[in-house]
């Protein structure tokens, strides 16, 4: 496949193609454009001056559709958790825009912000540290009602909490117990019940099962899928376990060093990846099938992820990429559909030389 001899497909522009994917799409509920979050690096104690910035999220754009699950994968330090915090408005964005149902929310403050937050909730990674050990389960799950009393009037709260416990598969009689009386999987269910309390439309799950035992992970994944159908939730599912992300996601985005490097439907990403980093990531995942270990064609990347305080020029992956050319050093590749790609390979990929692997 030659890169120069690329033939444009008819009159369709890359933008049009990007939105004509086979995945059934609802309305976008969350539109993220060029989102940037830099953490300043300062020097000095009395007279602080900025000497640089950790570019944790550096220009990320994507849409989250109504009722879909968008998986976000990437290694530690790629900015996936910071992205979640910025979307939740727990960290103010440095620049860029986040629109919830067409309304800009990244600059909101006060009561307007409070109203939007009701609709975007979060489930955290570690069910051991994200629950206050001195509060009963009833207080933990009921606390969102204190902040948003319009959802459940005072008299109904106990009943509302018991219903939530029932929904996530815990005995409603446990309402007066403390977090330490529960196992990891049960605690994660409590975290999910708290996330559901305000009847949100979007739930951002940040590594919701990675702290759990293998035999319990499947239970929590099943619960999340059941709840999505029941309450028509949109999930953003952040994880590093690629097989779980594939199972639960409709679309998957791959992040590297603060950037989205590839995004597409689960089939497009897992079977027709065109970005070298995605290919390396997929090939490095240990497969629970010993017969695959001989046949598998693994790409072992050299070196470590560069520091986000001082990312490489041009393409950020070029320092570890086997395809890197001079162009990669000069030009930052855009996240777009390259017009020489065909079939399922036609999806957004931020590589100048995007192509499927020869022998998959």
């Amino acid at each position: 496949m030659t890169i120069d001899g690329a033939t444009p497909l008819g009159a369709t522009t890359p933008e049009e193609v990007a939105f004509a994917q086979e995945v059934p799409r609802g309305e976008p509920i969350l539109e993220v454009r060029k989102l940037v979050k830099h953490f300043p690096l300062t020097k000095g104690i009395l007279f602080k001056k900025q000497v640089g910035a950790v570019k944790a999220v550096d220009g990320v754009s994507f849409d989250l559709m109504q009722g879909e699950t968008l998986g976000i994968v990437g290694e530690s330090g790629c900015g996936k958790s910071t992205l979640a915090k910025v979307l939740m408005n727990l960290e103010p964005a440095t620049s860029g825009s986040v629109k919830y149902k067409g309304e800009e929310i990244s600059k909101l403050t006060g009561s307007a912000l409070k109203a939007v937050r009701r609709n975007i909730q979060m489930v955290f990674q570690d069910p051991y540290t994200s629950l206050n050990p001195r509060m009963t389960v009833g207080d933990i799950i009921g606390e969102p009602f204190e902040i948003h009393p319009e959802v459940a009037p005072k008299g109904d709260r106990r009943k509302a909490v018991q219903d939530l416990l029932d929904v996530v598969g815990l005995n409603p009689e446990y309402i007066n117990r403390y977090p330490h009386q529960f196992s990891g999987g049960q605690r994660q269910r409590i975290g999910i019940a708290r996330g559901l309390a305000l009847k949100p439309e979007i739930i951002i799950c940040d590594e919701p099962v990675s702290a759990l035992d293998v035999s319990v992970q499947a239970q929590v994944i099943n619960l999340l899928e059941k709840l999505q159908g029941e309450f028509n939730l949109s999930y953003m599912f952040i994880a590093h376990d690629l097989s779980i992300v594939r199972h639960i996601s409709d679309r998957v985005g791959v992040m590297y060093l603060g950037r989205m490097v590839e995004i597409g439907s689960d089939l497009e990403i897992y079977d027709h990846a065109t970005h070298p980093y995605t290919q390396a990531l997929l090939s490095a995942v240990p497969v629970p099938d010993p017969t695959a270990r001989e046949s598998r064609d693994r790409i072992v990347l050299v070196g470590d992820v560069p520091s986000p305080a001082n990312p490489p020029s041009g393409c950020r992956f070029r320092t570890r990429c086997w395809k890197a050319q001079e162009k990669c050093e000069r030009e930052d590749p855009a996240l777009t559909v390259r017009d020489w790609l065909e079939g399922r390979a036609r999806h957004d990929s931020a590589c100048h030389f995007a192509a499927e692997r020869e022998n998959g």
Binding site: E75, S76, S183, G185, Q186, D213, V214, S215, V216, Q217, A218, Q219, I221, N222, E225, H240, L242, S243, I244, R246, H247, D266, A280, L281, A284, V285, P286, V287, P288, D289, P290, T291, A292, R293, R298, V300, L301, D304, V305
Partner: protein
């Protein structure tokens, strides 16, 4: 390149033909305020030189405690070993004097821990910590020790080892720190390495590098390797044989290919079935019901019976022994055992 080790190595003792390490009927318990926690309840396994045994289990299955008992690094009390034998080259380490054990630990059996950052001393340079092995065990002077530290760092492929030897642990990335831990374990060329979740704290792309390195060095030095993990993927990649642990017992042993193709214990089958597979997309994942048992109150009979889809009355009353698994015609399958009364039925499940 392997000069580091060869010149420093003392003469080997007489050739020994049996397994390198043979753990027999090991029991470990912890006496706590709430009662006796039975963490390990009769574990048998063996490893030969050049072989990789993977010990697979969830948290609380006793896989790490077994390894710590082998290393002799359990705090006793509260831990106690009421019965069992740990034979290293045919000699029971539990009956050795403290001095004898100390000679084996580090020199003959080395351990790699999960979290490299908390296993390294933050206020000493890595070169100092690597060299310490030679100063303490081989009586090398500072200069020799440092030269050997650099060679070791080269062996585990840390770039620019000579410049980085005086760096401190926090100046290295997670993958590099784990390489230093591997270097430290290799320093005295042990016969056996116990790696307790060596790549769990690392990212997938770095995980692959570290596992490759470990496998390569193992082949080169012809060491035995015990790999303790909860990750079915890592196991499939590197192990020769597998022991699956549940509630302090080995519930199944098998060569790696056979375990994945035809598990003979319902717990193993449940674990394999709960991995998301391509053809199950959009369907409910198989989940083992219930929770791992509390080790203070292990259920009577088979510990897995409250969660087992196959449980019968006998499972609630008798503890199933680790039985030899055979083909239908009675030919025993080499290295296969299952602690389930219904292993035959499980083997034929599909």
């Amino acid at each position: 390149m392997s000069t580091v080790a060869h010149q420093a190595r003392p003469a080997r003792e007489e050739p020994y033909t049996g397994p390198l390490l043979d753990v027999r009927n090991l029991h470990v318990e912890f006496r706590t305020r709430d009662g006796v926690v039975r963490a390990v309840n009769g574990v048998d396994y063996s490893v030969s030189a050049g072989e990789t045994l993977a010990v697979l289990g969830e948290s609380g299955s006793g896989k790490s405690v077994t390894a710590q008992a082998v290393m002799g690094i359990l705090d006793m009390p509260p831990a106690a070993i009421p019965q069992g034998e740990i034979l290293f080259r045919g000699r029971d380490m539990l009956k050795m004097s403290k001095e004898e054990r100390r000679k084996i630990r580090g020199q003959k059996i080395a351990m790699i821990f999960q979290d490299a950052l908390s296993s390294l001393n933050p206020v000493l340079s890595v070169g100092h910590q690597l060299g310490e092995m030679y100063r303490a065990h081989r009586g090398s002077n500072r200069k020799e020790a440092k030269a050997k530290a650099i060679e070791l760092m080269d062996r585990v492929r840390i770039p620019a080892a000579a410049e980085r030897v005086n760096d401190y642990p926090h100046q290295f990335s997670g993958g590099m720190r784990q390489r230093i831990m591997i270097a430290m374990a290799l320093a005295l060329e042990p016969d056996l390495i116990i790696a307790d979740e060596p790549t769990t704290a690392l990212d997938v792309t770095v995980q692959a590098q570290v596992m490759d390195l470990l496998a390569e060095l193992q082949a080169e030095y012809h060491m035995g390797l015990i790999l303790i993990t909860h990750d079915l993927g890592v196991v499939a990649d590197v192990a020769d044989k597998i022991a699956v642990m549940y509630a302090g017992r080995i519930v199944e042993t098998a060569p790696v290919h056979e375990l994945y193709a035809r598990p003979a214990h319902p717990y193993t089958r449940g674990l394999l079935d709960s991995i998301p597979r391509l053809d199950q997309k959009g369907q409910e994942l198989y989940a083992i019901k219930g929770l791992p048992p509390n080790l203070l109150r292990i259920p009577p009979g088979c510990a897995f019976n409250p969660r087992c889809p196959r449980a019968q009355e006998i499972c609630r009353q008798e503890v199933p022994p680790l039985a030899q698994v055979t083909e239908d015609d009675g030919t025993p399958l080499a290295g296969r055992g299952s602690a389930c009364f219904f292993w035959k039925e499980t083997l034929h499940d599909d």
